[in-house]
Subunit: 453 residues, 2 copies
């Protein structure tokens, strides 16, 4: 069977040696199960993807697409006997068009590489997941990735206007448009963004760009507790401010980052809240002052606007390093709950209670301005009792988030880890609608089956 694929694509494109394929079998969701792939296809172009999908239809073999494997929900994890299609080699930036303010890229382009390339034209691709130095635009499209600046500038779906896709019936089609607007039929582009490889495999992406913003002003606040920080976040929303970043980092994260970077943040603060405003001129200065006042209302023990760009960059870099820094401490089980801004303090309070009651170390970073919280359960490797307690904490956090009108996944995607939570969140009728759409576009049921819904 595989020989047929090797003949079509060439041996260099089809990896079957288990020692080689094993690094393609899972993403960074350490707690999500994964199987053993029949082979890994390193696609060079859409034709390779099409040939693989057609082969998979013929032989009824599941196909799992992956980019850099930085996902946090197990969405790209291999299924036993599947083909993994790696799109990492399809990493050409095909076009940057300043007049139309768009870029056309292959799915394997790394987020930061796109960002750097368009910056040379004074342009900006906003979605900036913490994984941006490694994660690919294709993967970002698969999960509808968010990031730090999404609080003001929106998520991946807000920037994708066209896709080339290999469909569940093995066709190569173009969805969407190059124009600024368009309503020709159902929005299949938006449907594919965030579909985690369950509807088709994306082979080209056209994204909207924005003008590169000002660097902005960074306001730092120290707090005694996460709940206090949450109160400040709610106050920012209550005042109608629109920061371009509003990030909350707790003591456990600060310590882990200190261990990695020797920045010494954790000695200064229990909890750090970082806000950025990027309006130009006096409007920016006024917004920064408002931000400081809001932090003070939340009970900040220290608050200041950084006038040192290097300090501001270092603080934001520390925030981005939280996940890799924490990974050194043990196995991480990552939440991605998102609650209405009103309820950020209460959700943080409930997480504290759950941590105490389940005797689990829960570190927290948060895109707090979005209400998007990432409590991370950390367990020592091999401590099964701790794992069991962490899992209980995970499910309780999901339940509390739903109780507060939130969603179980703000930006990481459903994958495998969030399936039970999503089933609860959506309910049987909506889940049935989701499955009907999936079945309509993947009639052979080969595209990342058993994930999401």
């Amino acid at each position: 069977m595989i020989d047929e694929l090797v003949t079509q694509l060439g041996p260099a494109q089809v990896l079957t040696d288990p020692d080689v394929t094993k690094s393609y079998l899972h993403d960074e969701a350490e707690w999500a199960p994964y199987g053993t792939a029949r082979a890994v296809v390193r696609a060079r172009n859409a034709a390779d993807v099409q040939a693989t999908v057609r082969w998979a239809i013929k032989h009824d073999v599941p196909v799992v697409a992956r980019g850099a494997g930085t996902g946090l929900s197990g969405g790209a994890n291999a299924l036993d006997g599947c083909i993994v299609i790696s799109l990492a080699k399809m990493n050409a930036i095909r076009e940057i068009n300043p007049l139309e303010r768009i870029a056309v890229v292959e799915p394997g382009v790394v987020n930061d590489d796109l960002r750097a390339a368009v910056a040379t034209e004074g342009l900006w691709y906003p979605p900036d997941p913490a994984s941006s130095p490694w994660s690919t635009i294709g993967g970002n499209v698969g999960t509808n990735a968010g990031g730090v600046c999404c609080v003001k500038y929106g998520v991946t779906r807000d920037y994708v206007i066209a896709l080339e896709v290999v469909t569940g019936t093995g066709e190569i089609v173009r969805l969407g448009r190059r124009t600024a607007k368009g309503v020709a039929g159902l929005d299949l582009v938006g449907l594919f963004v965030g579909s985690e490889g369950t509807l088709g495999i994306v082979t080209e992406i056209t994204v909207k760009l924005r003008p590169l913003p000002d660097r902005g002003r960074t306001v730092i606040g120290y707090f005694d507790s996460m709940v206090d920080g949450g109160v400040a976040v709610r106050e920012v929303a209550r005042r109608g401010l629109t920061p371009s970043a509003l990030e909350l980092v707790d003591q456990t994260c600060l310590k882990a980052v200190d261990d990695l970077t020797h920045m010494g943040l954790s000695a200064e603060a229990n909890v750090v809240l970082l806000g950025v405003v990027d309006e130009a001129g006096e409007a920016g200065a006024a917004a920064a002052r408002q931000l400081q006042e809001a932090f003070t209302v939340g009970g900040a023990t220290y608050v200041a606007e950084t006038d040192d760009p290097e300090e501001a960059d270092a603080m934001m870099a520390a925030r981005r390093l939280a996940y890799p820094a924490l990974e050194r401490l043990g196995d991480l089980l990552t939440e991605d709950v998102c609650v209405p801004k009103e309820h950020v303090p209460e959700m943080l309070r409930r997480i504290d209670v759950i941590a105490a009651e389940t005797d689990t170390t829960i570190a927290s970073v948060a895109h707090a301005g979005d209400g998007n919280l990432h409590p991370l359960m950390i367990t020592e490797r091999g401590d099964d009792a701790a794992r069991e307690r962490a899992q209980r904490a995970f499910h309780r956090i999901v339940d509390e988030c739903l109780d507060l009108g939130g969603t179980v996944t703000g930006e990481h995607g459903v994958g495998l880890l969030k399936m039970p939570g999503v089933a609860k969140e959506l309910g049987p009728e909506v889940l049935a609608m989701q499955r009907a759409v999936k079945a309509a576009l993947d009639p052979h049921g080969i595209l990342n089956p058993g994930k999401v819904f």
Copy 2:
């Protein structure tokens, strides 16, 4: 059959008198065919909609949802023997929440009424179709309506985060979320926005809001020809400017508006280009200067920044009146093509050629900054030869737009008028995907059948 519905909903909700129902049978697409409805249901709530859909499933009767009937593609036109569900009476604003920056409305709320209500809280609902004094948010959702300020602030889909929907199987479900972000499963909200009543009937809408912007600075340019105006528009894009409005109005429209308002615009200019920039302070002043320079590059015969807010409002109001003013001149066949900004001058040139070659009066207004052009074929009522020529012009414009990489509908929706163009634009594979999704969510085929795809 209908008696069953009357018993369930009460006689006041079910209109069957042809003299009464006739005003519910079509939208403002004068050239689109429409049939005779079996009855018109004036829904009071989601339960009324659900009862009607369940009745329609049972009796295999098509259901056509309508708001204010201001559509321009025939999307809300009745089919013979159908039930028209009017959602106009469901016009309550259920919530305005400044902290979450959202509003929750029933589908029959008029766009301008929502706009006025949220303005009292210092908030803004940006999508502003020219029909905003009359069209409903439900209708705006159905067509993914655009408008003047979309060039900077996006279209309806960019603001809708949750929907309550009566599905094709007669369930009432909630799609989406109240949170700032969320990726729990496929984006059914985005799929429903712009689906023109073919996937379900929307009974509640949650929209994001923005802070009310500054009034901004208005720059007016006069040009000898539309093509010159188009060159100015392209220059605005080339300079990387982001106006919050960039509207082009031709001589025919100016004259028609003058007839209505006695403003005397048409004596001063052949073509008017209106630009607005809404950055605060010095940034706004600089952007307005840049806009003037771009207009000059396009060959403007006169260009000035208006410092009189009343003049600015009057100019924009004149733009919004173009459609009703032209309707007095004859039957209108409305295009809604959208091309890449690069090609705006060329598309305008081709429209001139088509007007000459088909001997057809083509008036033009354009959301030019989006590349979204509205050439309007005007024919005297009863002149069949002129109608036939106008129809030829219509199809040629569609073909030229596709040749330039455009879309046949930027914001009006497909309805009936744009079906042939959309079929050409999407191609058979994508059309098959669209139909598969439609069939998955409307398994009984009762929701606005025969429209869009």
